[in-house]
Symmetry: C2
Subunit: 336 residues, 2 copies
């Protein structure tokens, strides 16, 4: 930077300002600095700036995995929204482990991010304390929070699953099975199961839960679950799958085995991925706002950065005001 300053015949601080807040520098000087940067091939060292100012240009994000297209979509939208303001994304995936989440967070915090974006609202014990203590803007995504650490954006997985279940019952089905993921791993899946149970209890029907043999991210696991369902002495009338990928597999199995969908077995999914429309018959499912969650998370981060400091008290009564509910939509197609 000293080189650049000398080339341009100005002080280093002027170079710094020309880069960070150009409007504070006269156009002529700005142009001289620009030319000097070009001539010297200068690349700023953000580590120094971060150290001095205690503010980096990075936002840390933790996702369970990027292998699931839906999280990748959210992260991509988040990155887009942040880049518009010159913020970089520092990403870590926790592999669904909430122990890993805390240690990953500690590492990320060491990079002095200006904000943190988390997936879900259930976190390892130390996470909340770590973040609150630093008064860092935090956005929790993909579900609503009763008591958000700071801000949250998502939709109620529980309410969505409840509504889908009620919709299946409204079509006259009584024996409605829920096909979910092994418990204790995916929080969103657990919320969907809870919503299904809510609905079945309201309806006075007996809950019937079948497990996928993986996280439901594969068509094959849906196929295997559907086979298990159909092999029963008395198969259910409807099967509500925790996501579209597995539900798609189930439809394929029915087609193969000559089981009529929806007359013999109604099938519903969750997500409204493109696969849902491509399925034959197309899937009845719940549309969820994946990319919008990312874009909104970016907006919330920027608002926080522009606005007031993060309150440490965080009175519970405004919990709702700090959650953005993006909603969901039950999409009726021919599979149920």
């Amino acid at each position: 930077m000293a080189d650049v300053a000398q080339h341009a015949g100005v002080g280093t601080i002027t170079v710094s300002r020309a880069l960070r807040s150009p409007q504070q520098v006269s156009p002529q000087v700005r142009e001289r600095v620009r030319a000097a940067i070009e001539a010297t091939g200068y690349v700023p060292n953000f580590a120094a700036g971060t150290l001095k100012s205690q503010r980096s240009r990075m936002v840390a994000a933790i996702v369970p995995t990027l292998r699931s297209a839906i999280f990748a979509e959210t992260v991509d939208a988040l990155a887009d929204g942040l880049r518009a303001r010159g913020l970089q994304l520092l990403i870590a995936s926790s592999g669904y482990s909430s122990e890993a989440e805390e240690s990953i967070l500690r590492t990320l915090l060491g990079q002095q991010p200006v904000a943190v974006v988390l997936t879900g609202t259930h976190h390892a014990p130390g996470v909340r304390a770590l973040l609150r203590a630093r008064r860092l803007p935090v956005v929790e995504t993909w579900d609503l929070a009763d008591d958000p650490i700071d801000r949250a954006v998502g939709f109620s997985n529980r309410a969505a699953a409840r509504e889908m279940t009620l919709a299946l019952a409204a079509r006259g089905h009584r024996r409605i099975a829920f096909v979910g993921t092994p418990p204790g791993i995916e929080q969103r899946a657990a919320q969907r199961l809870a919503g299904y149970r809510d609905a079945m209890a309201e309806l006075g029907l007996e809950a019937d839960v079948e497990m996928l043999d993986d996280l439901g991210v594969s068509i094959a696991s849906g196929e295997r679950a559907a086979e298990a369902l159909l092999a029963r002495r008395r198969p259910p009338q409807a099967a509500f799958f925790v996501n579209d990928v597995a539900a798609f597999g189930a439809v394929q199995v029915c087609q193969r085995l000559g089981v009529a969908v929806p007359t013999e077995l109604a099938i519903a999914g969750f997500g409204d991925f493109e696969l849902a429309r491509a399925s034959n018959p197309p899937l009845t499912t719940v549309r969820i706002p994946g990319a919008l969650i990312g874009a909104t998370a970016a907006r919330l981060v920027l608002e926080r950065l522009d606005g007031d400091a993060v309150p440490d008290g965080a009175p519970a009564r405004d919990a709702q005001a700090r959650c953005v509910d993006l909603g969901f939509e039950v999409i009726s197609r021919r599979s149920a």
Copy 2:
């Protein structure tokens, strides 16, 4: 850190060493430091360490997009491999723009990454100079490079498409169409088109190229392209799609219109995504090593970090030695 040192009754440098190279510190002292860190809730400031040592704990990666499951898979595998050694991933997506690539790279370099992972082998003009000048370990992914900046890992998209085309011809097809993406955007897609042209020229057949109306990431675009193909006065006998997602859409259209696959129209895809097996009939396609590319990129980065400095001369004759060719495999299923 001074706090921690005082708690533990040692100098700050000992705290630093206990964290970065524990074997240099006696077990008793190490334990006292650990306890002091716990007591004080200390989180290291990497910006300071990076500034002094000129080495961060970050690896920068640029991908065209995370929305495509295949890049997300690679990035996830890369992140896993790096985390094992305490390295964080700094990710940016370029949105397929190679102008954006250079400016994004400049920003990322400011964070003092210890290595850079790029997608593809065609880069904006300044990219190579910027990286070579810094002698930074660089890994280019997803295609083979004639003259890699440093290291490269992938497979030959061109050879893979050529082989698939030859396989279609071997089944007796003469009028083989290639359904690709608009030119100048996706480099991998361009290589695949080139491979198709290679094969058709070898076979003495006339090339026939149809365009998808997006980047071929959607089932719907494949459906539209298939409709266009079938609406022709004389449709091709076989259609080779630039990826499985679009090919899947084409199969769906044929099913809907009562066009027999493969007898009336043979269909091939590229990627061997899970969709390929789920399709009915299942897709003939090319298996490509998405996750392995990420894992190998991580390995190459770590080797580079452990080993010698990056040579600046980079003699062309060892270009091949610096490329890892992970290969591909033509998978014959019933769609062609």
